[in-house]
């Protein structure tokens, strides 16, 4: 079919090339009005639409000016460094008018890691975790299928000068990087429902808090819901990387409760986590709603206090996932979906922000989209978040950044810039679990 119809398509292209057409002009990515960190790579973009090849784009900042002609707007790195010295970069487009790019003096952590993976699961092939230098377009593999015998690698996390990821499978381990010292750990003990899955590192580097989960993938017969993942069992545990001990407090491992997605507070004195009463699964999946809890944590001996509810699922008739506390201790960022514990395919899933000092929910309308916005990470200075959003095509997660000021005001997100601004159109992989780090994980 393709061969018979292709000639007709080419013929139509020949004919239209000889005619002029105004058409709709747009740009991608759209960086107009974006607030960006002072150390971000150039915001390359391109125009779309008939006649866009005649575009003239002028960047002005202070007494500096840069003019780029044509559809592809690729900003030379040296020029970009000079433009970013100003707080505001004015952009004038012959096709789309004028806009501004705001340069925040708040820098962002230099490294972003993510797993490049197709939006499907069950079995995998050629999975890798890659690291991008946000100040340039440099990207390299941290760990790939070539290193692991095609094992699954996932759940990479950063905390200060420490980081961790998992190599799954029979020869797998949790690979911990404590300030340059690499160690492998088997994080499973008798009585745990599984090896550790989701987790976070304590600021002091000695402790880790993890969940262990029996994870079941499922498929919706309604086509627009696609995939679902739920836990039939899950508990929270605490690992002492110095001694190798794994602590399983009873109030974080109740038989009739699903505890998961733990994280430490910025100062390490609390553990936040999600918990839901068990329901019949998969039949009652829509009744599975997770609340947010916290327990105190004593880093001298790993002991924990009693759970205190932070966000009540029953009051919101929704389910919380992925709590992440800002390093400065002020904010808790998490995702909210209608139900469940795997919001990545929930179109309604949004990011939510709580002021931990007052318990107040902060407005996030400027950040959220009509598709899933999930898997967020804080910068070490608590001024930037990155998250994976399926806005756009609704299929593939892309990293988006937004700024949060000291009062919790958030800016509209902008997409990770690429040297080739057409990359997102071409790639058939999602940027899974984008995570910021101040040092390279390599």
């Amino acid at each position: 079919m393709k061969n018979r119809l292709l000639p007709a398509i080419l013929l139509s292209l020949i004919l239209t090339a000889c005619t002029s057409s105004s058409g709709d002009i747009s740009m991608f990515p759209d960086y107009s009005g974006a607030t960006v960190p002072c150390n971000i790579a150039p915001l390359n973009f391109h125009y779309l639409g008939a006649g866009s090849g005649k575009a003239v784009t002028t960047f002005s900042a202070g007494d500096r000016s840069l003019r780029i002609r044509g559809r592809e707007v690729n900003i030379p790195a040296e020029e970009w460094e000079k433009l970013k010295l100003a707080d505001t970069i004015s952009v004038s487009s012959s096709l789309l008018g004028d806009w501004a790019i705001y340069v925040s003096r708040d820098s962002i952590d230099r490294y972003l890691t993510y797993r490049l993976i197709e939006p499907g699961y069950e079995v995998w092939d050629r999975v890798e975790i890659r690291e991008r230098d946000l100040s340039s377009f440099e990207e390299e593999s941290i760990i790939s299928w070539e290193d692991t015998g095609n094992s699954c690698v996932n759940c990479h996390i950063h905390k200060g000068r420490n980081s961790m990821y998992y190599i799954r499978g029979p020869k797998g381990a949790a690979v911990l990087n404590r300030d340059g010292n690499i160690t492998r750990h088997q994080l499973r003990r008798d009585g745990m429902v599984s090896g550790t899955v989701y987790g976070d590192l304590h600021p002091d580097g000695r402790w880790g808090v993890f969940s262990s989960n029996i994870i079941i993938p499922g498929f919706h017969t309604l086509a627009d819901r696609r995939l679902e993942v739920y836990d039939t069992e899950s508990d929270v545990c605490i690992t002492d990387f110095d001694s190798g001990n794994i602590l399983t407090p009873g109030n974080l491992a109740r038989a009739d409760v699903l505890e998961t997605f733990p994280c430490f507070s910025g100062d390490g004195t609390y553990i936040y986590y999600c918990a839901a009463d068990s329901v019949l699964l998969p039949q009652d999946i829509e009744k599975l709603k997770y609340s947010l809890f916290k327990v105190s944590f004593d880093s001298t001996d790993g002991s924990t206090g009693e759970p205190v509810i932070v966000w009540d699922a029953s009051k919101h008739d929704a389910s919380a996932c992925h709590p992440k506390a800002s390093p400065n201790g002020k904010w808790l960022l998490f995702t909210v979906a209608d139900y469940g514990t795997f919001p990545i395919w929930h179109q309604e899933c949004d990011l939510a922000l709580i002021d931990l000092r007052t318990g107040t929910a902060m407005p996030m309308d400027a950040v959220n989209s009509d598709r899933s916005d999930t898997y967020h990470s804080w910068s070490s200075n608590s001024r930037w978040i990155v998250f994976a959003s399926k806005r756009g095509d609704g299929q593939y997660g892309r990293p988006y950044f937004c700024h949060i000021d000291e009062d919790g005001n958030v800016t509209s997100p902008f997409i990770l810039p690429q040297k080739d601004s057409h990359l997102y159109e071409k790639t058939l992989k999602s940027y899974n679990i984008p995570d910021l780090g101040i040092i390279s994980s390599k």
């Binding site: 079919m1 393709k2 061969n3 119809l5 292709l6 000639p7 398509i9 080419l10 013929l11 292209l13 020949i14 090339a17 000889c18 197709e118 939006p119 499907g120 069950e122 079995v123 995998w124 092939d125 050629r126 079941i216 993938p217 499922g218 498929f219 919706h220 017969t221 309604l222 086509a223 627009d224 819901r225 696609r226 995939l227 679902e228 998969p282 039949q283 999946i285 756009g392 095509d393 609704g394 299929q395 593939y396 159109e425 071409k426 058939l428």
Partner: protein, 323 residues
């Protein structure tokens, strides 16, 4: 301008040039280089050329050609899968089932997992697409693409575009359409009305649930009905067959044969059951012959000669090859 037109004409001619083999056509549609192809599938040979012919002709919608290519039973899961699918597209899955090698349900729905070949993984979504189950079709298409040597390919991207058009997800469809050289065509319009309307969560290995949901949305989806009953029978689940059977919906000698097994084992032999399953008298007589032969200890060879194409023979003697 003249240069542009000349280049365009050259492209036209190149695009119309037929692939020299099915292997070439498959590699081209899957964006596989020769080097990748040899690494994944080995050097060209008659068997792999046959495998590629099935995938290519199915992708083109040439089901009569697929039936022709699978006419000779090679006792392979993938061959049976395409043979069954071609028959289903012609509305004769049940009637043809017992005349061909059937590796239990694996010839209806190809198994997916670490032990399966890349080629098998790449073909498993076709049956779901034809049935109208868009979630499973999309999932299997993405897996097929993941396990393709190039992790890409026009055949997968086009199918993903079609699936998302059928779902009404135009944003996702546009993502894929922009990557294609040519248009998608209209076949997806016939899949859209078949999709389930009720949401049920099921595992990847649960094929009954999506089939039942397809039928709930569209009782006239006879292909889904045939697949459901054939799945019940190939897995020897007579109780499920009886539950799923709808009197008068579709007649088949296969269903009569299965019904007689139920009637004999349950003792439900009255006239009402004969009518319920529309059992013909000739079928009943032959079942009697089979039962008598079996009871008197007739040899397996003799039973196979006389009744090898019957469901009774399958039910009694088919065993799973766990390897």
């Amino acid at each position: 301008m003249r240069v542009f037109i000349s280049l365009a004409i050259a492209a036209l001619l190149a695009s119309c040039a037929p692939a020299t083999s099915y292997r070439d056509a498959y590699f081209r549609s899957s964006d596989i280089s020769e080097e990748q192809g040899v690494a994944a599938f080995g050097e060209p040979d008659e068997y792999t050329e046959w495998l590629f012919s099935l995938a290519v002709e199915a992708d083109r919608g040439n089901w009569e050609k697929v039936a022709e290519l699978t006419a000779s039973d090679r006792k392979s899961e993938i061959g049976t899968y395409y043979h069954n699918l071609a028959n289903a597209m012609h509305g004769c899955l049940a009637d043809s089932l017992m005349h061909y090698y059937q590796p239990f349900e694996r010839g209806l729905f190809l198994p997916m997992g670490e032990k399966e070949s890349r080629f098998v993984m790449a073909q498993a979504g076709e049956v779901w697409w034809q049935l109208g189950e868009l979630t499973m079709a999309e999932h299997h298409t993405i897996l097929g693409m993941i396990f393709s040597p190039s992790q890409s390919g026009e055949r997968y991207i086009r199918r993903l575009a079609e699936i998302n058009l059928a779902k009404g997800d135009t944003r996702a469809a546009e993502k894929y359409i922009r990557l294609l050289d040519g248009p998608v065509g209209d076949y997806w319009r016939s899949r859209a009305p078949l999709a389930p309307k009720t949401d049920v969560l099921h595992s990847a290995t649960d094929v009954r649930t999506p089939l039942l949901m397809l039928l709930e949305a569209n009782p006239a989806n006879l292909m889904a009905y045939e697949y459901l009953l054939c799945y019940d029978l190939l897995t020897k689940d007579i109780a499920a067959f009886v539950r799923d059977f709808v009197p008068g919906k579709k007649s088949s000698r296969l269903f009569e044969e299965a019904a007689l097994i139920y009637m004999a084992s349950s003792g439900n032999t009255g006239e009402e059951w004969i009518d319920h399953f529309s059992v013909n008298y000739d079928t009943y007589l032959e079942f009697t012959s089979f039962s008598e032969a079996f009871d008197r200890g007739e040899t397996l060879d003799n039973l196979q000669k006389s009744f090898g194409d019957s469901y009774w023979f399958y039910y009694k003697f088919a065993q799973r090859n766990e390897k």
